[in-house]
Amino acid sequence: MRKSLLIGLLLLCLVASAASAQVTIRVAHFYDPAAGPAHQMNLRWLEKVKEGFEAANPDIKVEFEWIKWDELDLKSLRDFRAGISHDVIYTSPQYYGLHSVAKDLLDLSPYIEKWPKEVLEDFTWSAVWSSAFPWGIPLGIHTRTIVYRRDLYEKVGLNPDKTPENLEELVEYSKKLTQDVDGDGKTDIYGLGMYFGPSRATIELYFAPYLWHFDGELWDKETKKATFASEAGIKAAQFLFDLIYTHKVTPEWSMSGTYDDVILLSFLGEKIAQAEGYGSYWIGPLEEKGWIKGLFPPTPEGQAIVADVYPTPTKYKAQFTNAWNISIHALSKHPDESFKFIEYMIQPDLLYEYPDAGLPVRLSLWERPEFKTPFYQKWQVAARNGRPMPPTAHYGDLADTVAACLQEIFAAKAPIPETLKKFEDEYNSKFAGE
């Protein structure tokens, strides 16, 4: 009796010590099962990654925690200050200026230095990497193109296989595509959809590309000052203003609503013939609408039928790219295990199935036949053409300031140079020199 009790106790101790040897890492993401099928798909992918990782690493347990997508970066920072730890956390590269000052994310350089050269080169081809390193590892590529209706091109006598190659052609094409279908004197289909609402999409997808095209910069790295009121900024704002009021190819309602409403839904709703700033995360809805076939998920036979895309005809490296990145919180008690999870997560075969990747971040994936279709090759050109936002710690303020400035120029028809200068001065009075 005493002997069996002793064995029992011994077994209990063994089980307890085995349990205590198991490490639990928490993975913070933003996919909400109640937020619709897209989120559910991504959540299923995460569950699959978790199961595979736990099976391969029985001593590490993974737990998920949910944080709203636009709160992730600030929560990481707030919790760091409050001494609350996380392990693996989704982050946005636009906030890396802030993270680099706050030091709430772990510098991943020591881990990445151990990677074989071929793995490193598989990632570093994209601008997304330069904006992510050393605070995060990109899980995909979010880049943008101009999406257009091939049928409307044909209807107005344009060749759907010959898309605009410069800004003059872009305006010319957009004018031809702007139509009053029912003859009531009002525009029914606009030639070029853009978005100038109070959101970060305005600076990232509609102002910065043209500012960069005219050789300007949003922010100066040396002086740490906003510089968007330059000659290039004036040209960019004037170009956008003219699209609405001079050429009348972009609707005035581009200033209201959300990015999704004005670009995605308006294009699918046939209110605009071409939409600029169309994200690689919106290929699925084109397939659902039946405007492309076999392209989402990608297949080697995939074809653009009614809708197609082309890279925005701005200068080289004048487009914005970003991605969801995966990072480790600086207060993580298990950084090694967390990085192990990240390495598991970014295996090519797993990333290939990640619905929110947008486009593959690993160059080797682009070698697969399904990404060799003309449609995806155009996306790759756009991805190669990308660059990140400036690494200011006050990126949110910079984005809000530019959006508000453009809105004042467009809504109140305020003088462009003076208004740009007014908003730039206001930003610099608070944040210059950081």
Partner: protein, 309 residues
């Protein structure tokens, strides 16, 4: 202790009875204070502490790296020199005055109607009137967003039918502010109306009857009975609406996010953006302190209005 100290009898009570009375008073009052301690502690923790913490934050400057420095009134000077902030201030006042000038007179008239006439189905109407008030602010904002949608919103199409032009309501500064004020009025009106109506029903009928006997006209009845006796309800409802409007960030943010430009960015929205979106906590706290000061000014003004005879 002083109360228990035997002294010269001044009340004329027998000495023993007086001691017993003093003891009871002292024991009961101490017990009452004892029971109050949890609420006082909670109030200190959740009201006074955050208030002082906010004031202290407004006098500090902190870096993202976590360094905190005392900077005195620098944040206030920075804001008061900023054209954007002065615009925020002006818009907040416009928002409050706009909402008050619509909701108070119209709700007062509506309250007079529903209390003076025996309307059929009044209880049902009272319930229906309360719907905007009980609808979640963000939900009602979404309703207004769809009403003013630039391509298919019924209000937009109605204006187009009248003027021949299709306005982009929420991208036109004056119309956007007008929409925000109207939305707030739509939400406040039922509450103010029912609050005032409740006040009007407490006025004794005899007063009106006596005045009528003395030859008072309808205007006289309102001027000398209804209005003076509902002034306290009026001031209270004005105070409540002012506080709601001044501190309203959610509906403005949901409708326009402060745009186009900064044309609808009221103080509460600025506070929200600074504190919770862009993480400028010290500037956000400074806006909060200024907002609190304005609220206090309004409160004092209304309290004085209530006390006036």
């Amino acid at each position: 202790m002083r109360l228990l100290k035997p002294g010269k009898a001044q009340t004329g009570l027998p000495e023993e009875k007086r001691y017993a009375s003093l003891y009871r008073w002292n024991y009961e009052s101490r017990l009452a204070y004892l029971f109050l301690i949890p609420s006082i502690l909670l109030m200190l923790l959740f009201l006074v502490f955050p208030l002082f913490s906010g004031i202290i934050m407004s006098l500090q400057e902190s870096t993202f790296a976590g360094e905190v420095n005392f900077v005195g009134l620098k944040n206030f000077r920075l804001l008061l020199r900023e054209a954007r902030f002065l615009n925020n201030l002006k818009l907040s006042i416009t928002y409050v005055l706009g909402n008050l000038s619509l909701s108070i007179p119209l709700a007062y008239i509506a309250a007079l109607i529903i209390t003076s006439q025996d309307l059929r189905g009044l209880p049902l109407f009272r319930g229906v009137f309360l719907l905007p008030f009980i609808t979640a602010p963000v939900v009602s904002s979404v309703i207004f967003l769809s009403l003013t949608d630039a391509s298919s919103g019924p209000v937009t199409l109605f204006i187009e039918r009248i003027t021949g032009e299709r306005p982009v309501i929420l991208a036109t500064p004056s119309l956007a502010m007008g929409t925000i004020i109207f939305h707030s009025f739509w939400r406040s009106f039922p509450f103010v109306m029912l609050f005032l109506a409740a006040g009007m029903t407490t006025i004794p009928n005899e007063l009106y009857e006596a005045a009528k006997v003395d030859g008072a006209t309808g205007w006289h009845l309102f001027r000398f009975i209804t209005f003076p006796l509902t002034r306290i309800h009026l001031a209270l409802s004005m105070l409540i609406i002012t506080m709601w409007t001044l501190q309203d960030a959610e509906t403005v943010f949901a409708l326009t996010r402060g745009g186009p430009g900064y044309s609808t960015e009221v103080l509460a929205v600025r506070l929200f953006k600074d504190s919770f979106i862009n993480f400028n906590l010290n500037l956000g706290a400074t806006v909060g302190v200024i907002l609190l000061s304005i609220s206090l000014l309004f409160m004092v003004a209304y309290l004085r209005l209530m006390q006036e005879r």
